[in-house]
Symmetry: C2
Subunit: 339 residues, 2 copies
């Protein structure tokens, strides 16, 4: 297979891709957020809001709309974007924490990657030194592998989106720091994910695929940075692929029969919506056959790996409180309803 | 370049991809719409609504979320999806028209492709025979080429999304058949688009790219089915590409200096959001430099060509009425605000 010598991308200087994209996000959504170029963070326009618990997340770029696209009302108060597939630094996290603390404390939502976890830990300690109360919760919902290239323990993937939405709604309703942090934890504990890839993505800096997947093969259990999954296999039908995804998620979730769930079919960036809805049809049917009932769903590319072709399934076991928080109004660039 | 022998896609039988995707859309959004499998149409759940003018659009599949993803409240009442890149047949259009007519008439929004125009014309005549008043408006906003492989005259592209939203809001407010049709016409007259491609897409049935674009080249003026544009050129920087797009659109639009516009940066399906917002930043800046002011924007993949890497720019010259209709509530799978 030919390696592209020039990436097929809209770029100026590849070193500036993240900064320029964040500037564009702020230009498009100035009613919701601002880009602090010096601190390299995206901040909700009306932050800090006195008395409201604030939510901060962040991680490497290349997963858009995660996280900057989820800053606004009813979700994140700030996002710290690193370079592509690279953890942000503690200074960004500290700046974001200071920018959004309204006196009620700040929840850090941290995907379980070694760099992110370490850096958020340092930022939380620094914030505490400055008198800001911080509660950190690590997301590790990916059932594909126990440890990975970049993690001790499971990786944090699709549940991050759901936790940000649901805990953001709790904070909007006036929940305490402990309660908001507990809501993130509950979403993480009740959610499981599994992803598959049909192609690599191409990071802008290198312009080269980060792995090679021979024609007709699929990587089962892929991570969001192209980290290897459980195994490669011949690419079967969509129905067969969904069988693997549903089995992996449901067997680990151990949901009681008849449980109400939110089913999140996520595109990795390069899979067209035509296919994502085809997958959702299979997921919906197979979840019901497995004894759980998808009463809410989300279908689209929300936590991506640049232009990777692939998809992930996240299943969240709902209860009345989580359902109500999911349904609550949200207004961000990438998720919006009720307002 | 190697031709893939097996498409990197989530598929069961390639012949069923559209049907299965529509079934998935309906499974995910049963609160908004239903899939009539026999008639092969997507219909708003509460259609027909007595006294409301109804909007129907349709065309080949592979452009999702267009059109099925825009069925709901405040936008389309029904969509007729053909096979991938293939016009729907008149029977689908007639069935959709009958399903949504609430006595106030039906507007057909037709993208300017020969098959679509002919088939919608036949359906409108048949509907008239059944006593349904139909007004048809053809969208032809693409400034790239005067005629093309599939059109006499300009192609209909991004303005379709804006017309469906804006005219849908007019219908929701109780506008007459003439007024709703006139609103579609006004959007079309005041909008211009220009698209570029960095790669081909791969239709599911053939599993092969529909054109070859050598490494490091860009197709300027691409259509949404891979139809050739104005020319191929060396892929320059994002800034240079946006210069071409903005110049093509603005020189044709002839907007008065200081005009307020809606700027729509659309992804073709395979371009990550990281790049789309980078493009939006360039577009916003260059439009202002060209003397028009983007007071509204839309950034995302709304009228796609499967997984083609590329983007299009649509600029709509607003007035107070169009702005108010754009801002009005909408609730569809792909566009939602105010509700």
């Amino acid at each position: 297979m030919a390696i592209q010598t020039k990436p097929r991308k809209f770029l100026n200087d590849p070193a500036d891709v993240v900064k320029e994209s964040l500037a564009g996000l702020a230009a498009a959504h100035g009613d919701l957020l601002r880009y602090d170029r010096a601190a390299q963070i995206i901040v909700c326009k009306d932050a800090p809001r006195a008395g409201k618990v604030a939510l901060v997340s962040g991680g490497g770029s290349g997963h858009e709309p995660l996280h900057g696209g989820f800053v606004g009302r009813g979700m994140l108060d700030a996002a710290c974007p690193g370079e592509v597939f690279t953890s942000p630094v503690p200074d960004q996290m500290l700046a974001a924490t200071k920018a959004v603390d309204g006196g009620a404390g700040v929840v850090h939502i941290v995907k379980n990657y070694t760099g992110d976890v370490l850096n958020f830990k340092m930022a939380a300690e620094d914030a505490a030194d400055d008198g800001i109360r911080v509660a950190s919760v690590v997301i590790d919902d990916d059932v594909a592998v126990q440890d990975s290239l970049y993690t001790a323990g499971r990786r944090g993937v699709g549940a991050t989106v759901l936790a940000e939405k649901i805990a953001g709604a709790a904070a909007e309703k006036g929940a305490s720091l402990d309660k908001v942090a507990d809501t993130v934890k509950r979403v993480n504990e009740r959610a499981r994910s599994f992803g598959v890839a049909l192609s690599s993505c191409v990071p802008p800096a290198s312009g080269k695929p980060i792995f090679e997947l021979p024609e007709g093969e699929i990587e089962l259990g892929i991570g969001i940075h192209g980290e290897p999954g459980r195994r490669r296999a011949a690419l079967g039908s969509a129905s067969e692929v969904v069988d693997v995804m549903v089995e992996a998620v449901i067997s680990d979730l151990k949901a009681r029969a008849g449980s109400q769930v939110l089913a999140f079919v996520n595109g990795m960036g390069g899979t067209p919506q035509l296919e994502l809805y085809l997958l959702y049809g299979e997921v919906d049917r197979k979840l019901r056959a497995a004894g759980v009932v998808p009463v809410r769903n989300l279908v689209g590319s929300y936590i991506t790996s640049l232009e990777m072709a692939g998809a992930s399934l996240t299943v969240l076991q709902l209860d009345d409180e989580l359902t109500e928080l999911w349904d609550a109004p949200v207004h961000t660039p990438a998720l919006r309803w009720g307002v």
